[in-house]
């Protein structure tokens, strides 16, 4: 079967027939992983990091766009650049650290040197080289990514040039980034401490999990029980939690589906007084009005397709997903908070983050163990389809609901219900975008192959 036909057999998206299904090969087939790298991660906007992570001249950070190692670097004029971390000569990495500050990036192999904008400024022993004139006409600068842009301090890039503007790509989901950025008068920053973990399962397990309210009470049962134990005990120095009292709070959960694969999940906060922002409530109302301040206190998980998530619930977490293979994923995670936050609020934010979000916390390890269990079970190749992706179908409405109206949001779909509704329709935008991008890429491959075949005859 050709690639396009195989691809189309992996997602059933039939709103009229009220059906939505995801084939298990989506999570386990190495060919699918290759498509994802070429036609999603290396063909659309992906998240790189925060502008505040490279604040000064010549600061840099390294990360990946799909399989491409890249550098985000600030030049001497303060301008940001994103280039591929590979010397033009033999391909060696020119930056080795996750974060650093360097005016010049000198390749350790043969000494080709680049400045902090990626420009080649020195080619060792060039005068004696005997290069033909054609060599001098070539561009020897580090290869720039085709598109590189920021929105409210969040940096994104695309290896492909034929993408819409970043603002258009983010679309209505921008409202949720605004609500993060606006928490500090000067924006937000990463708390020091870089934590990276790897799990042995597909990256889309994490993609789903961020907007999955259904797993909470089963996967995080031990966390909820720990909170109940803490309520009964008198131990002073244990972290407070916004989830305290979750069983009795009667909370609602909503979701919004956006274009281009993005989605958000939101809900009432069982114990808002436990939020690090709580002492700032009045000033947030003064700055942003009652409605937006209230929304800052809702739990909100935002998933920006394909590789970035922000979870504001137990604390405030930024996640960057890096797929390594069909069965392995790397997660770089950050605690973020408003710049200039009061010391006690920052301490509380950090303790709550460690308690829940860390790979050494009381919640994330249980998510990860489940992802790995799923991947192990998906080895049963004879079972074709996942079940249950239609959960929430009957509650989902086209366009805005009254909550979207309240904040002037225009999502593609909205949903609201009790927490037990456990919506899974918020996963649909990601799979739709997944299919759209891979299909476009495979079509291009096909037409290129046809053109080549015509050229050969």
């Amino acid at each position: 079967m050709d690639a396009l036909a195989r691809l189309r057999g992996l997602i059933i998206d039939d709103p009229q027939g009220k059906d939505f299904r995801v084939h298990r090969d989506v999570f386990r087939d190495p060919d699918v992983f290759d498509w994802e790298m070429r036609h999603i991660f290396e063909a659309t906007w992906v998240f790189l990091g925060l502008e505040s992570q490279v604040p000064s001249a010549h600061d840099y950070m390294t990360t990946f766009i799909g399989r491409h190692p890249v550098v985000v670097s600030r030049d001497d004029k303060g301008e940001l650049h994103c280039f591929i971390n590979s010397c033009r000569h033999r391909g060696a990495l020119v930056c080795h650290r996750a974060f650093g500050n360097r005016k010049y990036h000198v390749c350790q192999y043969h000494g080709w040197a680049y400045d902090s904008s990626g420009r080649n400024v020195h080619l060792k022993d060039r005068e004696q080289a005997g290069y033909p004139p054609s060599f001098d006409k070539e561009d020897h600068d580090l290869v720039k990514v085709r598109k590189f842009a920021g929105y409210r301090g969040f940096l994104f890039a695309s290896l492909a040039a034929d993408v819409p503007s970043l603002e258009e790509h983010l679309g209505e989901a921008r409202w949720f980034l605004d609500l993060i950025a606006d928490q500090g008068e000067e924006g937000v920053e990463c708390v020091p401490g870089r934590i990276v973990f790897r799990y042995r399962a597909n990256w889309k397990m994490q993609l789903e999990n961020a907007v999955d309210p259904y797993h909470f009470t089963s996967t995080h049962a031990s966390y909820i029980q720990v909170l109940e134990r803490r309520q009964k005990s008198a131990a002073a120095d244990v972290p407070t939690s916004i989830y305290t009292n979750i069983r009795n709070a009667g909370i609602r959960r909503g979701s919004f589906a956006f274009a281009r694969g993005h989605a958000a999940m939101w809900g009432d906060t069982p114990s808002p007084q436990a939020r690090a922002l709580f002492p700032s409530y009045e000033s947030l109302v003064a700055r942003h009005g009652e409605v937006r301040a209230r929304w800052m206190f809702h739990t909100r998980n935002l998933s920006l397709f394909p590789n970035m998530q922000i979870a504001e619930n137990a604390s405030l977490q930024l996640r960057v997903m890096r797929p390594l293979s069909a069965g392995a994923t790397e997660m770089a995670i950050w605690c973020i908070g408003p710049k200039g936050e009061a010391a006690e609020a920052r301490r509380q934010r950090i303790r709550q983050y460690e308690d829940f979000f860390n790979p050494s916390g009381l919640a994330t390890p249980d998510d990860v163990a489940n992802y790995e269990d799923c991947q192990s079970g998906l080895a049963a190749w004879s079972i074709a389809w996942q079940q249950g992706h239609v959960r929430g179908f009957e509650a989902s409405v086209a366009g805005a609901d009254r909550f979207a109206d309240e904040i002037g949001l225009q999502p593609e779909r909205s949903l609201i219900g009790p927490v037990e509704l456990g919506d899974e329709t918020a996963f649909h935008p990601a799979y739709r975008e997944w299919l759209r991008l891979i299909e476009a890429g495979l079509r291009e491959d096909e037409s290129r192959a046809h053109a080549a075949a015509r050229g050969a005859t």
Binding site: R97, A98, V226, R229, V238, C335, A343, I350
Partner: protein, 166 residues
């Protein structure tokens, strides 16, 4: 050696701690700690720079009392934590023990550790390693842990970590 305690007694405490962790005798492990103990596994900030202030930077684990460790022990044994069911088998090794007495009379003990972990769920094994700094204080005839700082040298985390992995 330091005051009333010999280096052998200090080493014995560290070995006993490792043994109790590996035997999953975690109530007895908790008893080695003072109720107001500090337990700290800092995150790395840069390649060779640890987070030095737990109130302004991240830790993997940070508690200023035994209560947080008691929560973890309870959770690991609860049967409701997916990651802890089944529990992995572990083997801690502690070596390179050096001890100095502080002006307060407490002992600052530095050592190197590794922990081999056999994950029964994934049927995979991995190792974490690093350095410990224990602060030990006399409690009657015994030594108790007033503070334990665990530096995790290989902080690219495989799956997850908990108190029994470090």
């Amino acid at each position: 050696m330091s005051g009333a305690f010999s280096i052998d007694q200090v080493a014995d405490l560290l070995y006993r701690e490792a043994w109790l962790l590996d035997q999953q005798r975690w109530k007895e492990w908790l008893d080695l700690f003072a109720p107001d103990c500090r337990f700290w596994v800092p995150a790395w900030n840069q390649d060779h720079e640890l987070v030095d202030d737990p109130d302004t930077g991240l830790s993997f684990i940070y508690y200023e009392s035994r209560g947080g460790l008691e929560d973890r022990v309870w959770r690991a044994k609860s049967g409701t934590s997916v990651a802890s069911t089944p529990l992995p088998r572990t083997c801690h090794q502690v070596t390179n023990i050096r001890c100095e007495e502080e002006a307060s009379g407490r002992l600052r003990v530095r050592s190197a550790w590794n922990c081999h972990i056999f994950d029964l769920r994934a049927k995979e094994q991995h190792t974490f390693f690093g350095h410990y700094t224990h602060l030990l204080a006399a409690d009657g005839e015994k030594l108790r842990i007033a503070e334990k700082k665990i530096v995790l040298q290989n902080d690219l985390i495989t799956g997850f970590i908990d108190f029994y992995c470090v």
